[in-house]
């Protein structure tokens, strides 16, 4: 599986993503600087977490308008796979590749902790290694993860099975207390209509070794290998 990781000024989970992709695919991803206007042919483009352009104005807003992002959009329009983790998810909504917007957490505070996620749809290139309805643990670390979409969009996302992950409690129930940021319908991650684009706030790349305290994030990467090879 060939991959590329886009690096914006002040992306800061780029190395984590590169390390994870290399470990799992066995190949070093291409590292693409935001001013590059060429992305080699790859199976997957990853937009990593961080604070691109300081998260100033709106999270992901400036990165979404960076020259390289046009190339990411072209890749996605051709049906290429794209993942956006955390800040990457914010960039994807800002470009319009995914619907909705990520607003300031309801608590107004940055939140870093392990959350429980339910795999809502395992029939995607990013989730097929999980059981349907499986509850996994993955860390979140963000200030703006409060997913908002208007009622119609939300309805369509639910109807079309485009919710990839939802915040749940230990028993797999969608509760208010299990929601770390106030996102509508406890949404943690969504996919595009063609299922080739995924955006999610939690960080699967931070939970892939026992030393991290667990390996629940591995399934995410294994899914892509299943789907692509």
């Amino acid at each position: 599986m060939k991959t590329a990781v886009i690096v914006f000024p002040a992306s800061n989970c780029d190395r984590d993503m590169i390390v994870a992709l290399e470990k799992i695919t066995g190949h070093q991803p291409h590292i693409i600087w935001h001013q590059d206007d060429y992305i080699p042919a790859v199976d997957l483009i990853a937009l990593p977490g961080g604070f691109s352009f300081g998260d100033y104005l709106r999270c992901g807003a400036m990165a979404a308008r960076s020259p390289v992002t046009r190339k990411v959009i072209e890749h996605a329009d051709r049906g290429g796979n794209v993942i956006g983790i955390c800040n990457g998810f914010q960039v994807l909504t800002e470009t319009g590749l995914l619907p909705g917007a990520l607003m300031r957490n309801e608590s107004l505070k940055f939140v870093c902790k392990d959350v429980r996620l339910k795999v809502e749809n395992n029939d995607t290139p990013f989730t097929n290694a999980y059981e349907p309805g499986e509850v996994i643990t993955v860390p979140v670390a963000h200030h703006d993860g409060n997913y908002f979409a208007d009622d119609d969009t939300l309805y369509a996302l639910e109807e079309e099975g485009r919710i990839a992950f939802r915040y749940v409690n230990d028993d797999g129930d969608t509760t208010l207390a299990a929601n770390p940021n106030g996102s509508r319908n406890n949404i943690a991650g969504i996919i595009s209509r063609r299922k080739n684009i995924l955006g999610m706030m939690p960080h699967p790349e931070r939970l892939i070794e026992n030393a991290h305290g667990g390996t629940d994030g591995l399934g995410f990467f294994k899914s892509m290998i299943n789907a692509i090879n």
């Binding site: 104005l57 709106r58 807003a61 400036m62 308008r65 909504t93 800002e94 319009g96 619907p99 909705g100 917007a101 607003m103 300031r104 957490n105 309801e106 107004l108 409060n146 908002f148 208007d150 106030g182």
Partner: protein, 79 residues
Amino acid sequence: MKARVHITLKNGVLDPQGKAIKHALFALGFDGVNDVRQGKYIELDLAESDPDNTQAVVEEMCKKLLSNTVIENYAIEIV
């Protein structure tokens, strides 16, 4: 010329900051607050000297960068 841009959340979009401010004001004893909405205020100092052109340019800036039209409205004032 100078332009002042107000960026506000669309009706129906929940406003966590506004809600928190309302809550905090209440906690401080300000109890007659029906609603609070928080937006952004951007002041631009532009080389352009024609008001119409300025309006058009700032309009484009708002569409291309300054606002996220999925959730926000903008209003421009040229001064």
